[in-house]
Point group: D2
Amino acid sequence: MSEASFFTDMLQSITDRGRQLLFSGARATQAAAKADLQTLCEMLLSSRGEASGMALAAEILDRWEALDSEGAQAFLDMLHEKFGPDTVRLDQAIENYRTDKSSAAIIALHQAAEPRRQELLRRLNHAPNGTAKLVRMRQQLLASKDQSEGYHALNADFTHLFGSWFNRGFLTLRPIDWTTPAYILEKIIKYEAVHEIAGWEELRRRLAPADRRCFAFFHPRLADEPLVFVEVALTRSVPSAIGDVLVEGREQINADEATTAVFYSISNCQDGLRGISFGNFLIKQVVEDLRRDLPGLKNFVTLSPVPGFARWLAKARPETLTALDDPKWPDNEKTAAEVERVLLPLAARYFLTERTPGGRPVDPVARFHLGNGARLERLNFLGDRSAKAMQQAHGLMVNYLYKLDDIVANHEALAQRGEVIASPGVKGLLSQTDESRRSGNGQQGSRPFAQIMNTTLGGGRK
Amino acid sequence: MSEASFFTDMLQSITDRGRQLLFSGARATQAAAKADLQTLCEMLLSSRGEASGMALAAEILDRWEALDSEGAQAFLDMLHEKFGPDTVRLDQAIENYRTDKSSAAIIALHQAAEPRRQELLRRLNHAPNGTAKLVRMRQQLLASKDQSEGYHALNADFTHLFGSWFNRGFLTLRPIDWTTPAYILEKIIKYEAVHEIAGWEELRRRLAPADRRCFAFFHPRLADEPLVFVEVALTRSVPSAIGDVLVEGREQINADEATTAVFYSISNCQDGLRGISFGNFLIKQVVEDLRRDLPGLKNFVTLSPVPGFARWLAKARPETLTALDDPKWPDNEKTAAEVERVLLPLAARYFLTERTPGGRPVDPVARFHLGNGARLERLNFLGDRSAKAMQQAHGLMVNYLYKLDDIVANHEALAQRGEVIASPGVKGLLSQTDESRRSGNGQQGSRPFAQIMNTTLGGGRK
Amino acid sequence: MSEASFFTDMLQSITDRGRQLLFSGARATQAAAKADLQTLCEMLLSSRGEASGMALAAEILDRWEALDSEGAQAFLDMLHEKFGPDTVRLDQAIENYRTDKSSAAIIALHQAAEPRRQELLRRLNHAPNGTAKLVRMRQQLLASKDQSEGYHALNADFTHLFGSWFNRGFLTLRPIDWTTPAYILEKIIKYEAVHEIAGWEELRRRLAPADRRCFAFFHPRLADEPLVFVEVALTRSVPSAIGDVLVEGREQINADEATTAVFYSISNCQDGLRGISFGNFLIKQVVEDLRRDLPGLKNFVTLSPVPGFARWLAKARPETLTALDDPKWPDNEKTAAEVERVLLPLAARYFLTERTPGGRPVDPVARFHLGNGARLERLNFLGDRSAKAMQQAHGLMVNYLYKLDDIVANHEALAQRGEVIASPGVKGLLSQTDESRRSGNGQQGSRPFAQIMNTTLGGGRK
Amino acid sequence: MSEASFFTDMLQSITDRGRQLLFSGARATQAAAKADLQTLCEMLLSSRGEASGMALAAEILDRWEALDSEGAQAFLDMLHEKFGPDTVRLDQAIENYRTDKSSAAIIALHQAAEPRRQELLRRLNHAPNGTAKLVRMRQQLLASKDQSEGYHALNADFTHLFGSWFNRGFLTLRPIDWTTPAYILEKIIKYEAVHEIAGWEELRRRLAPADRRCFAFFHPRLADEPLVFVEVALTRSVPSAIGDVLVEGREQINADEATTAVFYSISNCQDGLRGISFGNFLIKQVVEDLRRDLPGLKNFVTLSPVPGFARWLAKARPETLTALDDPKWPDNEKTAAEVERVLLPLAARYFLTERTPGGRPVDPVARFHLGNGARLERLNFLGDRSAKAMQQAHGLMVNYLYKLDDIVANHEALAQRGEVIASPGVKGLLSQTDESRRSGNGQQGSRPFAQIMNTTLGGGRK
């Protein structure tokens, strides 16, 4: 039994007893047994004894778990409607603050403006498995696609609390490999979100070889659940296609022969923790870890999908897509070459000049890596020919380069000036877009792509 | 190396690099190198990149650690003065709320009222060993005995954050015994606050025998530091004197022969976590743990000091104390008997009827146990003849009884009605106070104390 | 990395260095580099320095590993021919013993009679992974199906040494479950010898449910390799067919609802350890372990194959087998009933009265369990309809009952008097064999089998 | 509870049950209950069931533990007298061998010559804690100072079995530091045999600082007991006096600043394993371990006592000792200088030319290190002024140098040619002995010792 489940068992036994006390025997507790969830929540907020508090928290969460989807929505609504701030107290605090600008008055104001459900959620967290259940509760909230004021208010409270509880200081990095317990490994299969793992044999191929690594963040209170994990290939060059990384029967190398660590899949595991960012910390810590263990590693790159590209392209340049209408276009060498000539400059534009209304890169994966301070290193034409990748990005993949010495500067360039830092090769492609070519900058277009790319990385492709 | 320190090392290496980037080379970072702590804190609050954020947090905490006591006080003052809420924004939020009572407006108000140092402290927590350093920072604050508004405002922020970070759900209970690593054990010696541990041999006598137990709470981020621990003796009767528990060469029993678990010492370890209550959870979980492992255990009691008794007595009944003026009074059998006759009824009154202005028991240890739902079980005359106990309590010790089935009711009796739940024996003593005796209720006074006590516990004293 | 492999790495580095010294530079070591394996073995036997000894041992085992099958056989032959006892010394020792019957003379005689290869194997064991390699070396020996004198002599030496090294006192029992590392689990799939495990999903069904257990013995020097393991089903009755135990989608129960632990598969993992018996210890320790954890368990039984039955039957009663000639016979209800009527009494005779020339039960699985003191509890007609079981035993399975209080007596009955202890139900079947029925004892034949069986076990079948 | 004790508990419960069966109820077992130890041993040797075997083994060892010293001696005598080889069988085997020189005949002879107690001891080893008890049994044997034939025969059997069971392949190296459990640490205090550890504070000074290391070998079956340990100081030069290493308040360095690892104390822990050599493996593995962790380490030396020097000197050169008669001689600078001038050359002779009758170095510590392939590096006048060292060696200490590249050659030089490999400095001293000086080789005598020494080590002394 893992330590976490042992601990859970113990908590369970404490609270079972408390609940027994609460809900048996005395008159007062008979009332409690019949109480509806709102009443129980009020009781929990006003309780002062810890044993009764833990029992109440457990009772509430157990009842909540038994709710059907309608009931669960009603519970969320109730949290919003009934456990907002005490507005009477808030008005008093405002009134008081008008005449007394002291710290004490501000504290009182701050406390009065805090929705009562924040304290309620903190107390629910005392229940056995409380954290896991609250993560699921937020998952329900996010799934509700409710866009009401209540939704946003409630989400703000969850986000605030989870940001504190899942503070990076409390996370533990653990390697995932073929010595990892099976019950963790099956979650890796389940949560892999980028390149599906077909079963245990494929999992073994990703974890067991000497030139493969995987790392996950865990939280002490969710000990059996990875929060986020990254899969890494150790190679002698920067791969341009995911097939080369994942193919069965590929040639393996010793870890100390590798010059390059390729982060080819990063998956968040807990829907209920969406927006609580761990991935950036994960990559940076893994880079440090690998550098220390394998001094031969010089390049740290990703091999990443471009999930928003096809949709953007369909809107931005519908006329260029006709060749893509035939799903077999990659098989025709001539067509493929023509597509490549047109597609890559457009992709460069997609990354380098397109922006969301908020001024950020339009591609979500790009937002993540560029926001972390990575550099857009290379565009890989037909890097992934899976159905999903063909549909999302016409097979395009990209490499982002993590160079620790440049991370801060890259990040600041994007954050302050809105500038995407990219390799010369990628920037060169930009001048080949229709507009550029029309304006006479197209001479670079004849230079083979692979050659361009070779100049951008110390290693060079095979 | 413990996992925690391994992790710390890794964090250190990440942040060292970040710091290097920050404070070398570029013009901007040269400025940072010279920046004062306030500027760095502002930078940290406005930073968006995690690597730079961790580096800044580490830099700030390192500089803070190097401050002398004057500088440290100035730092605390700065946190209060410069990192309170943004009052312009707060005033706007209030103004807005007057016309718009929406959740969004309240959230905005709540956020505006939050002192900016709360977010600052959250970001400082990202630094290696950040949690430990912030705990020390609060320890400095508490030690400053400052009673200014700033002190209270700052303390409120720490209390709020620590309450969330040290949520009971995140604590781990670990047994402490003779198989525990030495670096933890030496902290047990250091932190023991009730009955001093003279050295390793005495520690061994408290941990190694089959009829002794010790448990501590740990937090994953402070892995090498116990937060609170309790020492337990397993016995066949409820002891009335600490000497019987601690004496060298005492007769040992097998754990499964024991009927009674005696919590004879509970020590909080971290001054900086004062007021973040763990002890109540600790006792209740240890009770559950012991019950499960040792089904023969029927009684769970403390053997506790009465630290406030002598001071109270000196004020309340100066005239009764004359016999106590001679430090050798316990050696004179007749004097001792007379003191006992007078002292115990007064002690009963001290516990049962005296109250703080806030309506709580005056004795701090009583507040803790009674607040947890324990029952005041027995007064032990001359239970501790150490100099400290003679000075604080004229040697008085008491047993508090933890009966899980009664905890909630006992707690509620105190919380709701201000009633201290005590055994009949203790309540009987109350009628023997001067007032009672004057009013003719003194007949019980002739009943021997030991006999009274025997009726209150199933076991009975040897 | 497991502790064992860490240790292995370290040993490796020590011996690499030693080997480097041995086989480089100096003239003497150049000779060694060219030396044949026999010379190296002689060097190892005469070496006194440990560093050089470990290096030599590693060198010999490395060269041995590189041999083809012919070379490997030649190596085994050499061990027998060249590293037997020193016969000159032996003759002297005998001569001396004739005149001097002292202990010292006997010790000298004993030592002189010890084949030199015993010490050679002990020294080879110092090499990194030496134990694993020597286990493989014996595996080759056993596989050679050589029946020469040399084979037996060499095997006697291995058996003697392995018996000492794998002394039960040095084995560790570990539960195997869904928290076990994957690299151990894949070996469970590989080594399962009774009921094949088709893949990870089936493995999960055998390990993860609350009513399943698995235990293995490990040796500290072969830390990544189970030696033997047993799979256990926790049930509410004694199962009569393996299909009920293994079927996907079966109803699961809580472990504490179980009354019966069924050992349905026991597999030895290391061919090279054949004849070094662990299985008996394993079952008995697992019984103790389960009793302690699950006091509700009352029956400990196996569900076992009968691998020798069909072969015996073909010889013993060829005329009874005609119905079995049609492989679809079990599908015809009437035929099946008739087969059952004839087969079970013969099976009873197979177990109860047939004996090997050495006077032991003829079935190998029966020899194992009955020799351990189990009782033959029940014959299960068509308990296993897999092709293998149909071919080996016409589908027959049996339950052996492990009742700790009777184990010694059962064992002694077999060992001293050659008596197989069986349940009344099984013994009753014996009287139904042709011979019995001819002599008029057949009346019990009409009693339904299930009913007979029900009387033999407290539980009773569903 | 450690895994080892858990396992012990389980074994205990199996054997308790077996014993209950054996010694209760049936007539046969009543006999057993009364049987004397010899009868029980015969029963154990003839038993075939494992459960009864383990129970018998446990019963025998329990009874043996209860014996007084006379009874224990009688038990040892019985092992020798009654459990030697079966001489009738041996004579037959010899007779058979005369006509049949086959392997089978030799095996039969070998087995017949094996004392029956070897198998008896193997079976006793199955009992819970059997290994530990047998180690104590041999400890008693060694302590008996019996020099009879029986003693030697019995000791040969123990040595043979322990050599196999404690084969280096089965030992585990573990670091001992301030994170080690207290129950192991107290054994370090207890077993330290060279420089006494006065208590926990001194232990802390030896284990906790960054420039200190300690390593021990453990055996899986004696998990709570170190077999041998070595204490290491990491320094910047080769120390010449133990006081510099152990002094309280000495200046500490970082581990990675160290150039030299000093093995200043090696202690065997188990008297019952005397002669089963681990220390040589320990040193070599620790050297490898440290090299890997701390690449800055260049020198691996000991700082060792010379326990046999004073005794040898008293015999060899009684006339030179007059100055040493005054125990305060080291305090007189002039006397000390004169003693040094005389003593060191004699010490050189003691190491380099004196030999035991068997041709080995006379000093036991020298035999150990030189036999391991170390080089005698430096003589340290007044290196240890403790009473013990003054008495044993007039304060002399020496450094032995472990240079992995030379170990094999050094070892062979001693083993083959009887030559002690020493530094030029030490060899130079040899020419200063009386004999040398008389023959005119004394001119080197005027060269200061420190200067000579400086030339022998890269580092050089401060």
